[in-house]
C-alpha cells in the first residue's frame, strides 16, 4: 500500500539486498554457482519478503492514521459553514446516481436465484419455501455485498481518480498551503456520503432482489404467490434485514476510506492515477469480502447467544 511504504520497505532491505548481490556476482565470476548462490537466493527471498511485510505494515499504519483523521473530522466538518454544501454533491454522486445500476443488479440477483433453485426445491416439494430462502439470502448477504461491490466499482474508482488527479495537479498541497485540512475538506464528505448512503442503496437492492425473485417465481415458473410471501414473512426476521444494513455501513465506510486513501497517495501522471484506481477497486473488493466474513462470524455468534439456533428449512 502506498509508494512511500514500498520505498520504505525497499530501503529497509536495500542494504541486505546489495550485499547479497555482491556475493552472487563474485560466485558467478568464479563459475561456481553452487550452494553459496542458492543460499544467497534464499537470503534475498527472505529479505524481499521481509521488506514487503514491513512495507505492508507501514502502509496499514498510514491507512489507519488517515482513516482516523477523516472520521474524527466528521463532526467538525458537519457543523462547519459550508460542510453541508460539500456533503450534498457527494451524496448525490454516491447515492442518487447509483440507484439505477443497483436496481438492475438487485433484480437480476433475485431472478437468478429462483432460476437456479427452482428445480431442486420443486423436486422435493418445497417450491413454496423458495421465496423464504431467496429473500433471506438477499437481505442478509447478497444485497449488501452487491451494493458494496457496485459502489466500489462505480463510485470508488471515480473517487480515486478524482482525488488522484487533484493530488498530481498539486491541488491537495495547495489546500494545505492555504491552511485548509485536505483530509477534512475532501475525504470526510466523501467518506460520509459512502457511509450513509450504502445502507440506503442496500435497501434498494434488497427490494429489487425480492421483487425480481417473485416475478420469476410467479410468471416464469408458475409458482403460487401466497405461500411465497407467507413463508418469507415467517422466516425473514428484522434481524436479517438489520444485519444487512449493519454490513452496508461497514462496506460503505471502507469503500470511501480506501478509495480516498488510494487517491491521496497515488503516483504522479495519468498512469499513476489509473493504477491507483485499479488498486483501489481490488482493495475495496477484498475488504468487502473479508469484512463480510468477519461480520458474519460476529453477528451469527450474537444471534445464537441471544435467540439460539434457528432452522430455515424446517
Amino acid at each position: 500500500m502506498g509508494r512511500d511504504a514500498e520505498e520504505y520497505g525497499r530501503a529497509r532491505c536495500g542494504c541486505i539486498d546489495a550485499g547479497a548481490d555482491g556475493v552472487l556476482e563474485r560466485n558467478r565470476s568464479n563459475g561456481e554457482m553452487g550452494s553459496m548462490a542458492r543460499k544467497n537466493l534464499l537470503f534475498r527471498l527472505i529479505a524481499a519478503i521481509g521488506g514487503a511485510v514491513v512495507g505492508w505494515i507501514d502502509g496499514f499504519g498510514r491507512f489507519f492514521v488517515f482513516s482516523g483523521h477523516a472520521i474524527l473530522a466528521g463532526p467538525t466538518e458537519m457543523l462547519a459553514a459550508g460542510g453541508w454544501r460539500r456533503l450534498m454533491p457527494q451524496a448525490y454522486l454516491v447515492g442518487a446516481r447509483s440507484v439505477p445500476v443497483i436496481l438492475v443488479t438487485g433484480a437480476f440477483v433475485g431472478m437468478v436465484l429462483v432460476v437456479q433453485g427452482w428445480e431442486q426445491f420443486d423436486a422435493s416439494g418445497l417450491a413454496d419455501r423458495l421465496g423464504a430462502i431467496v429473500n433471506i439470502s438477499v437481505a442478509a448477504e447478497l444485497g449488501p455485498v452487491l451494493a458494496g461491490v457496485m459502489l466500489a466499482g462505480r463510485v470508488g474508482g471515480a473517487l480515486t481518480a478524482e482525488l488522484g488527479t487533484m493530488n498530481v495537479t498539486e491541488q491537495i498541497v495547495a489546500l494545505r498551503s492555504m491552511g485548509a485540512d485536505p483530509v477534512r475538506f475532501l475525504v470526510t464528505p466523501r467518506f460520509l456520503a459512502c457511509l450513509l448512503l450504502s445502507p440506503l442503496l442496500t435497501c434498494y437492492a434488497d427490494l429489487m432482489g425480492s421483487l425480481g425473485a417473485w416475478g420469476v417465481y410467479v410468471f416464469v415458473k408458475g409458482g403460487d404467490p401466497e405461500p411465497y410471501w407467507r413463508y418469507t414473512a415467517e422466516v425473514v426476521e428484522m434481524w436479517d434485514l438489520g444485519t444487512g444494513i449493519v454490513k452496508a455501513f461497514f462496506f460503505g465506510g471502507a469503500i470511501g476510506l480506501i478509495s480516498c486513501y488510494k487517491g491521496f497517495h497515488c503516483r504522479a501522471g495519468a498512469e499513476g492515477v489509473g493504477q491507483a484506481c485499479t488498486e483501489s477497486f481490488v482493495a475495496s473488493f477484498i475488504t468487502i469480502l473479508a469484512l463480510d466474513f468477519c461480520l458474519n462470524i460476529v453477528l451469527n455468534t450474537l444471534y445464537t447467544v441471544w435467540y439460539g439456533f434457528r432452522s430455515l428449512i424446517m
Binding site: 530501503a11 454533491p89 498539486e170 491541488q171 495547495a174 498551503s177 491552511g179
Partner: protein
C-alpha cells in the same frame, strides 16, 4: 523595521530516495524586495519553495520565517504562517470543483473562518480578476480555461487577500504566457512590492522576467546556489554554468551527442 531576513534557510538538505536534491543550501530573503531563483529544470527550485510553507520538510537543516523556525511545526501550528504567505503553484493547482471566482475567493474564505463580508469579497475577487485581465471569467470552470488563463487565475488567487500577504511565492508565474501578458505579470509583481511592500520570491526560467522583477537573482545548480547578484553581475560571472544559463546556451556535454 526589523532587518532580519523574512525567510531564511540554514544548511537545508533534501533527498528523495537515492536522489539528492538540495545539499545544504543557505538562503536569506530580504523583506520587501523581490528575489529570483533560476536554475535548470529539475534542480529543486519548486522543492525549495515548498519548504517555506512546510509542504516539504528538510532532512537536515532549518527553515525560518520571520525568525520563527517552521520545519518543526505541525500542520496546525503552520496555519498562522501560511496565512501570511501566498503560493502560486507551478501547475496552478486550481480547484476543479469550484468556479474561477470561488477559487479566487477561497483563501479569504478559508482564513476568515465564518466572519466574512460577502460584498467586500465579491469586489476583491472582481478587482483581482481584472488585474490579471480576466474580468467576466468568474463563472467559468478552471477546466474550460487555456493554460495561460489558468496561470493568471492562480496569480489572482494568490493576491486576492486583504490586506495582501507578506510574502508571495511565485513558481514560474510567466510560464506559458505570451510576452505581453508576461510583461503585465512582471509589472504586477513589481507593483505589489512597491505599493504593499510584499516580499516576492520568484522561480523562473524566463531571464527577461527575472531581469524585470528581480532585485537579486540566485542560481541553483546541483543542490547548491552557485550565483547571487543582479542580472548584470550574473552575466559577468566567472562561473561558466551561470553565464551559459543566463545567455541560454546549452551545456557542452548536453549537446555532444547531437553533433
Amino acid at each position: 523595521m526589523d532587518d532580519h531576513p523574512i525567510i531564511e534557510f540554514r544548511q537545508v538538505s533534501k533527498r528523495f530516495g537515492q536522489q539528492r536534491v538540495l545539499e545544504g543550501i543557505d538562503l536569506s530573503v530580504e523583506r520587501g524586495r523581490t528575489t529570483v531563483i533560476i536554475g535548470r529544470s529539475g534542480t529543486g527550485k519548486s522543492v525549495t519553495l515548498k519548504h517555506i510553507v512546510g509542504l516539504l520538510r528538510p532532512d537536515e537543516g532549518e527553515v525560518y520565517f520571520e525568525g520563527q523556525r517552521v520545519d518543526t511545526l505541525s500542520e496546525r501550528e503552520l496555519r498562522p504562517i501560511r496565512r501570511q504567505i501566498s503560493f502560486v503553484f507551478q501547475l496552478n493547482a486550481l480547484f476543479d470543483s469550484m468556479s474561477v471566482a470561488e477559487n479566487v475567493a477561497f483563501p479569504t474564505v478559508q482564513h476568515a473562518r465564518g466572519r466574512l463580508d460577502r460584498r467586500k469579497l465579491d469586489k476583491l475577487v472582481q478587482d483581482c480578476l481584472e488585474l490579471v485581465g480576466l474580468s467576466g471569467f468568474g463563472e467559468k470552470r478552471p477546466a474550460d480555461l487555456s493554460g495561460g488563463e489558468k496561470k493568471r487565475v492562480a496569480l489572482a488567487r494568490a493576491i486576492a487577500i486583504d490586506p495582501p500577504p507578506k510574502v508571495i511565492l511565485y513558481d514560474e508565474p510567466t510560464a506559458g504566457l505570451d510576452p505581453q501578458r508576461s510583461d503585465v505579470i512582471n509589472r504586477l509583481i513589481r507593483n505589489l512590492q512597491n505599493e504593499f511592500n510584499v516580499t516576492g520570491l520568484v522561480v523562473t526560467h524566463d531571464m527577461k522576467s527575472a531581469e524585470a522583477v528581480g532585485d537579486r537573482i540566485l542560481m541553483l545548480w546541483n543542490g547548491r546556489f552557485i550565483a547571487d547578484g543582479t542580472v548584470a553581475e550574473l552575466r559577468a560571472a566567472r562561473d561558466d554554468h551561470v553565464r551559459r544559463f543566463v545567455e541560454g546556451v546549452a551545456e557542452p556535454e548536453d549537446v555532444r551527442n547531437l553533433t
